[in-house]
């Protein structure tokens, strides 16, 4: 059948002319539309405004000129106060979302608009850098000297009075000490093994309280405010207030070795000598997690400030990471082939520093756990028994009574390190048992067997604090206000995950999860059916008949279920087989010249 033109009116060759259409100018007119001369408004019988119509035909631009114009197009004007790239990078929350995959135009526009705002926000945040009041401390050696040569007394002599007052020694006889600074770096808590507890404002040297618990003390820890602290004593954990009054005795935390506090979750984490890790919510007084890690005596425990995960170092050289709501470690990291001696997490939560009996100190990237190699590896002459990392990335480590700091976590060394000398070194008069950098100060606190030393380490602390986060100068009213706000924003323990940004991401099931879900289909059990028979008053019911009826219904349901599953499985298998089949018969791409090929032999009819 061939197509014929539809009958009826013959097709007009030229399009109909409409009365409102503007006549197209011909070549004779010389191009360009001549303006119609309109009479003045008064002479017309028309009240209203004229709308000027632009119906001049556009002149086609010569292509070459266009290309030229494009080349000569001036570069966009540089911004008046450009922000350096690295500064923008520091404040950036990640790359822009590409609107390419967005389905509708509306959402695409929305996304691009949002990106503009985000970029502006980043820019504004970067510009605030200008307003920061303080600069970081530093120590530079003169020519022919190294920073490692300088003694603490020399440094203290060369700095201002206020700073030199930060260098002090406390000699106490209640034996190996543990120490903690508060989050804002203003207060210090000391706990001696033989029962001595002292809390004081170390900047003004004002003592809050001092007492003897008359029990051995394993560890001490400040709680969310500098008016309360926890002390792990011989059998239980006790809470004291600033005046030394006992507030609580937590009998559920027994024989605790190590304490740690997650300030944004209000969790007091404890690791005990039987290998139990416990998380106590100090705002409601409940244990949100308490289980056996199976690691034995927990001696090394720090939390990762970036995500709140607890890192526990074991005797086998393995660091395992724990969340209170998951009874298995979130991750395990084999750090040393020998037993570990110390463990520290960088305050930014990027690096994990471990030390082992193999005399090595290794720095790991804990944001990318897929790398099985440390970022850096220092080999020492003796195993390091204590470690800590400062806010600006300085590393302090102690080997018995000897103590070293490195100016950079990754590269190590001090300024003017020709021979890879440490930044500052110090020999203490007794064995070092605790080592912490003071937040927002250039100070390293060292708790030894015979007391406490406060060392000056210029350049270790973050110079500019954020008063809404941690304020060393806070008044009691501000402290209370801050406490209320932080309680309102308490993060539930379920949100402790390895990736803290998980909650802001898209919850798309990964390929692995999809595969698992499909695979599960092959191992599903028929559901239990709980049927309640209607209680009949009349008739010949009887228990036997009721039971039989029940069985019938159950069987029917089960059959139904099995049939469904079988169907689903069949589908699944079908999908895969067709895909594989298609793969097997993969054809070569068709070409124009294929038609000249010899035809395949026809199948003979039988």
């Amino acid at each position: 059948m061939t197509k014929t033109a539809p009958k009826g009116r013959p097709k007009a060759k030229t399009p109909y002319k409409r009365y409102f259409e503007v006549e197209k100018d011909t070549e004779k007119d010389g191009g360009g539309l001549e303006h119609v001369k309109v009479m003045s408004k008064k002479r017309q019988n028309f009240t209203g405004d004229f709308v000027r119509m632009h119906n001049k035909p556009k002149k086609p631009r010569p292509q070459k000129a266009l290309a030229k114009a494009k080349q000569e197009e001036p570069e966009p004007k540089p911004k008046r106060n450009p922000i350096p790239e690295e500064l923008l990078k520091k404040y950036s929350r990640g790359e822009q979302v590409q609107p390419k995959g967005v389905k509708t135009r509306h959402f695409k526009e929305q996304q691009t608009r949002k990106e503009v705002y985000l970029e502006y926000a980043t820019e504004q945040a970067a510009r605030t850098e200008l307003l920061l009041q303080e600069t970081a401390g530093q120590l530079e050696a003169d020519e022919g000297e190294t920073t490692a040569e300088y003694r603490q007394s020399q440094i203290a002599d060369n700095v201002d009075l206020q700073s030199s007052a930060k260098h002090f020694n406390l000699n106490m006889e209640f034996g190996p000490y543990q120490m903690r600074y508060t989050k804002n770096g203003r207060h210090l808590l000391l706990g001696g093994r033989r029962g001595h507890v002292a809390a004081f404002d170390w900047v003004t040297k004002r003592l809050h309280c001092e007492f003897n618990a008359m029990e051995s003390i394993e560890d001490v820890q400040w709680l969310h405010v500098p008016t309360m602290y926890a002390v792990a004593q011989k059998s239980w954990v006790y809470f004291y207030d600033k005046k030394g009054t006992e507030l609580h005795c937590i009998k559920r935390l027994n024989r605790v070795n190590r304490l740690d506090f997650l300030p944004y979750h209000f969790l007091l984490a404890a690791g005990n000598s039987a290998g139990y890790a416990s998380w106590l919510d100090v705002s409601i007084g409940e244990l949100v997690g308490n289980f056996n890690t199976g690691l034995g005596d927990i001696r090394l425990m720090r939390h990762n400030p970036r995500n709140g995960v607890l890192c526990i170092g074991g005797g086998r050289g393995v660091v395992s990471m724990w969340s209170p709501k998951v009874r298995e470690p979130l991750a395990k990291l084999l750090c040393h082939s020998t037993a570990m001696t110390a463990l520290a997490v960088d305050p930014k939560g990027q690096h994990l520093v471990t030390a082992g009996l193999d005399r090595a100190v290794k720095v790991w990237d804990i944001r990318m756990l897929v790398h099985d190699k440390p970022l850096t590896h220092f080999q020492l002459r003796l195993p390091a028994n204590e470690l800590d990392v400062s806010q600006r990335g300085m590393l302090a480590l102690s080997q018995g009574t000897y103590l070293e700091t490195y100016s950079d976590l990754l590269s190590g060394g001090g300024s003017g390190d020709g021979q890879r000398l440490p930044y500052i070194r110090q020999r203490c008069d007794a064995f070092v048992h605790g080592l912490r950098f003071c937040p927002y100060e250039d100070v390293l606190g060292v708790a030894t067997a015979k007391g406490f030393q406060s060392l000056l380490v210029p350049g270790s602390g973050e110079p500019n604090f954020d008063a809404l986060e941690d304020n060393p100068y806070e008044t009691s009213k501000q402290r209370r206000e801050h406490e209320v706000h932080s309680l309102l924003e308490k993060i539930p323990p379920e949100l402790i995950t390895l990736d803290p940004h998980e909650i802001t991401g898209v919850d798309a099931p990964t390929l692995q999860e999809k595969i698992d879900a499909k695979r599960k289909l092959f191992h599903v059990k028929a559901p239990r059916i709980n049927m309640k028979t209607r209680h009949k008053m009349k008739g010949r019911g009887g228990t036997a008949k009721a039971a039989r009826n029940k069985q019938i219904v159950k069987d029917a349901k089960r059959k139904e279920f099995i049939a469904e599953v079988r169907e689903a499985k069949k589908d699944l298998i079908k999908q895969h087989t067709t895909k594989e089949g298609a793969k097997g018969k993969a054809r070569a791409p068709r070409s124009v010249l294929d038609r000249f090929r010899p035809k395949p032999p026809k199948k003979q009819k039988t």
């Binding site: 530079e140 060369n158 700095v159 700073s163 995500n307 305050p347 973050e462 304020n471 802001t504």
Partner: protein, 445 residues
């Protein structure tokens, strides 16, 4: 040796006297603010909860009418003035700021069917069941003088509604016919008619001011142009439309309140399918009014509730109800976009907040910043299941809940049936019809 340590001068960080503000140095470095995501999430959760805690939309009750309230007239220039008409022919003018009735008079025998202010709000037009249009002065008469209409026009036809042009001195009434009047004449300039059915509501377009739309009792919506001699277009729905409101910002769109529990938003250029069907009411929708921003509208229903919709969403954003409110007959959205008024059968006019949890009164700058921040957080985390659940939850009266369940069951059953029919008939014989297309019968030009 060159050495420098952090040594803060306390003068820079501690205030000198108690009269000063505390110094709060900020450092926006992201590393000093860990756990940003989870903290924001918790804040968003708290903001959503607070939003629900403070959701107390009812502002006040304006009582005074002695019969059910039938219609509203919004003053075009004064926010605190509103006129309401009742079933007993009484018109009341309200002073909304003081929540009192400033003036009342009996305007008609029988129902007051419609009230319209003139362009500048100096006159009030009322129409009633007694086939009269009465013109009243907007300001109250002096003490000792009676309420007398400035003008009374006797109409030949019954009157069911009135709407005033937004730009010139014309107004239109509807009843058996659509009539265009001039303020200065006692006879209509023009009457427009399409079919024999009664027109029960009329509304002028606020932007394209010579266009007007009517709803007729033959289930149709008719568009007129006051300059033309003939009606423009007509669209017939499956059920009767009760009221019609034009979108004041996108003036080519209008929404009708339909008898079949739904509202339909139409584009005048494409009447064949509505732009959106707005569900959620469980009984006939009686009235609809747009917010002045054109982004939202409020609808009143016979199910004793009023609902607020986003103009582009098919489900309501909020539902307002009280135990004492009976069938709601009329609603209005105030011209400052902050309040919603509802008039119901049990003689009361109620004032509601347009945004249920909004704080009334003076808001200080820091408070305003906080509200804005909370709003942004709520938006950012709106998709999280917990937050979504809290934000969406509404307590509804039992009869509404039951009716909702019933409607859902009916709908499911219909769907199942349709699916079964489809399964057992030839392919393509039972087509899929979108919900939008189900409700429009035909369009006539």
């Amino acid at each position: 040796m060159k050495v420098k340590m952090i040594s803060r001068n306390p003068d820079n960080y501690v205030r000198e006297t108690k009269l000063q503000q505390h110094k709060m140095p900020r450092n926006y470095d992201p590393t000093l603010h860990p756990l940003e995501g989870p903290r924001e999430y918790v804040r968003a959760m708290n903001a959503t909860k607070l939003d629900r805690v403070f959701a107390k939309p009812f502002v006040c009750n304006l009582s005074g009418h002695r019969d059910g309230v039938s219609c509203f007239g919004k003053h075009p220039k004064q926010l605190s003035t509103m006129a309401t008409g009742a079933y007993d022919g009484e018109v009341r003018i309200w002073d909304l700021a003081n929540r009192i009735s400033s003036r009342n008079f009996v305007a008609h025998d029988g129902f007051v069917r419609g009230i319209a202010y003139t362009r500048y709000g100096d006159r009030i037009f009322t129409v009633g069941d007694d086939k009269t249009i009465k013109v009243w002065k907007a300001e109250a008469p002096e003490i000792g003088q009676d309420e007398v209409p400035v003008n009374t026009i006797l109409s030949k036809f019954g009157l069911h509604g009135i709407s005033h042009n937004h730009k010139d001195n014309k107004f239109a009434t509807c009843g058996e016919v659509c009539a265009i009047w001039d303020e200065k004449h006692n006879d209509p300039l023009k009457t427009l008619k399409w079919g024999v059915d009664t027109l029960h509501t009329i509304s002028y377009n606020p932007v394209e001011t010579s266009i007007l739309a009517c709803c007729a009792s033959d289930r149709s919506i008719i568009l007129y142009d006051q300059r033309e001699a003939q009606p423009l277009r007509k669209v017939v729905l499956t059920m009767k439309s009760n009221k019609l409101a034009w979108n004041p910002m996108e003036a080519f769109n209008f929404t009708v309140a339909n008898e079949d529990c739904n509202l339909y938003t139409f584009d005048t250029r494409k009447l064949q399918t509505p732009l959106k069907v707005h569900f959620d009411h469980v009984s006939a929708v009686t009235d609809v009014d747009y917010s002045p921003t054109g982004k939202e509208f409020v609808s009143a229903s016979y199910d004793k509730t009023i609902r607020i919709y986003n103009a582009h969403h098919s489900h309501s954003r909020d539902i307002y109800h009280t135990k004492r409110m009976q069938h709601v007959v009329c609603v209005a959205w105030s011209l400052d976009n902050r309040y919603v008024f509802s008039g119901s059968d049990e003689m009361n006019v109620r004032m509601w907040k347009a945004n249920a949890s909004e704080k009334l009164g003076v808001i200080r700058p820091r408070e305003r910043v906080n509200f804005n921040y909370q709003e942004a957080l709520k938006q950012k985390y709106a998709a999280h299941p917990q937050i979504k659940r809290i934000a969406r939850h509404r307590q509804v009266p039992r009869h509404v809940l039951n009716a909702q369940k019933k409607m859902r069951t009916v709908k499911e059953k219909e769907q199942v049936k349709e699916a079964n029919v489809r399964k057992h008939s030839k392919k393509g014989k039972v087509p899929y019809v979108s919900e939008k297309k189900k409700h429009v019968l035909k369009e006539e030009v």
